[in-house]
Symmetry: C2
Subunit: 344 residues, 2 copies
Amino acid sequence: MEAKRTEIHELGEFGLISQLESSISLMNPSSIRGIGDDAAVIDIGNGFVQVVSTDMLVEGIHFDLTYIPLKYVGYKAVAVNVSDICAMNALAEQITVSVALSNRFSVEAVEELYDGIKMACSNYKVDIVGGDTTSSLSGLVISITVLGRAKKEDVVYRSGAKANDLIVVTGDLGAAYMGLQILEREKQIFQENPQIQPDLDAKDYILQRQMRPEARVDVIGFLKELNVQPTSMIDISDGLASELLHICKNSSVGCNIYDDKIPIDSQTSLTALEFEIDPSTCALNGGEDYELLFTISQNDFDKIKGNPHMTLIGHITNSDEGKYYIDKQGSAVELKAQGWVHFG
Amino acid sequence: MEAKRTEIHELGEFGLISQLESSISLMNPSSIRGIGDDAAVIDIGNGFVQVVSTDMLVEGIHFDLTYIPLKYVGYKAVAVNVSDICAMNALAEQITVSVALSNRFSVEAVEELYDGIKMACSNYKVDIVGGDTTSSLSGLVISITVLGRAKKEDVVYRSGAKANDLIVVTGDLGAAYMGLQILEREKQIFQENPQIQPDLDAKDYILQRQMRPEARVDVIGFLKELNVQPTSMIDISDGLASELLHICKNSSVGCNIYDDKIPIDSQTSLTALEFEIDPSTCALNGGEDYELLFTISQNDFDKIKGNPHMTLIGHITNSDEGKYYIDKQGSAVELKAQGWVHFG
């Protein structure tokens, strides 16, 4: 009898993860929250918790060294982890960095990677407290685990959104995705004709958003100063639609968001049009923006009104009212996640 | 001008790590200890610390799926991490598990890997609180970060050994290395002639030591019960010689250990002789035993005397007295680390 073989792409990344998760339970009383949010939450006593998250970046899947310098890969690896801690309304303090690399990499290359890692750590005030360096048979793999600390009552989960809460995003969306399109276009042109100089005119913002995203630690500071405790929060790594659906699922609510309110930078819009892509599609499904998506009580609206870092894009509804995106024509379209599909 | 290119094998794994470490400093007051011990130590207030360690296992480097089932790979990945927490005299409570895998692996294969991970977690009373699952272009990479908690004053570092302290190891040494030799021999025979049945007669103990090592969480319990606080401790992943040299370096001391005192199981000795290897060489340099090596004050000798889990193998000396291994003939040989060399 042959053993059953189910291909991973039949389940998809989220399907596989949820199947693995379903059999995991927590035993230790200090494990407050396990898998299923941006970070795990561990009780450390005295009203404080440790917030822990981990991310693995694989060459050829998450980054392409033909157009991203190693220094940027290192910076981004730290930023995306720190962003997960921000998404819990906490600040990162320590990371561990594990790296597997083949002998294709020189000592100088590893140093360049670590220069990026250290630059990000310095910017985010995070200490590198541990790690592992090993060889691999092919390519580069970076695995980072990040630790932050917060008061137990300050932690924001994906599960706290309530009907009538307002939906807010920070910064602007879709830029990282358009930056990636530019890099891939120029890579292809270069491969076909190495003589042609890359055309990166007026693309600096979207390239930077793709190559060197920042974790919004500043926003966590602003929220504290404004005395705003979000009711739910997540960071935007897989695209606005996917992340908002996570909040809706975890909070058992519905939502309405409005196309004309979604913040998109003009460079993103212009580049999207150049590629004949709807800019809103980039914002909804592009991913890798590492902005924060959160919900607040209506009572807190005045505190964030007019804040240049935060944009109101819609509101939470009851679960039975569905999850909708209201397009430019005013039609309600069911919100669906395209996101990133790593297993293809 | 060409950029300088230094090959990683010119520095070696330890050389590369120490070069990277040299430029890392700690900024946050909560970071008590960073890189350089079995685990990092983070102050969580109220007299407690969190102990954090991370390990990355790469297919083809750390394990060979032609002879190790995925369930064992999963189990071992957890055990080696939990062992690092034991080496700080603490107990693991949480882990995060990140896995990168190519489409060569089926959903059933991933489940088998996780079955091993979950079995180890259940044995060691550790919760899986987070992780990341992603694809890779080739092979399997597992990165685990483990968290434990301890009273600040209970934590044992590599740096506390003092002259005249006694050197103790748990269990027996060299078995995991001989188990690996058997597996590699049988793999080669199988590749040359698939008809021949593997000859694993009377090799069960050393195979189990290689394929399914255990973290000595029991020893941490015994030490507490016996009221013994080691002055320094490390786990044996790279071989007794290499680990003892770490303790000597970190504690600025010398040592004498005695060949005739090193605990070696008879199956290890017999198999070593079969391979025409000196059993002591396996114990000194074999690695992957995941036993604990620690030093205690002479005053504590009576507490561990006759304990079947612990063997006295020598004593700590002053730094200027050197680091020696006293062989069967009574000659003092300078202790050198062969260890595992991953970058070749």
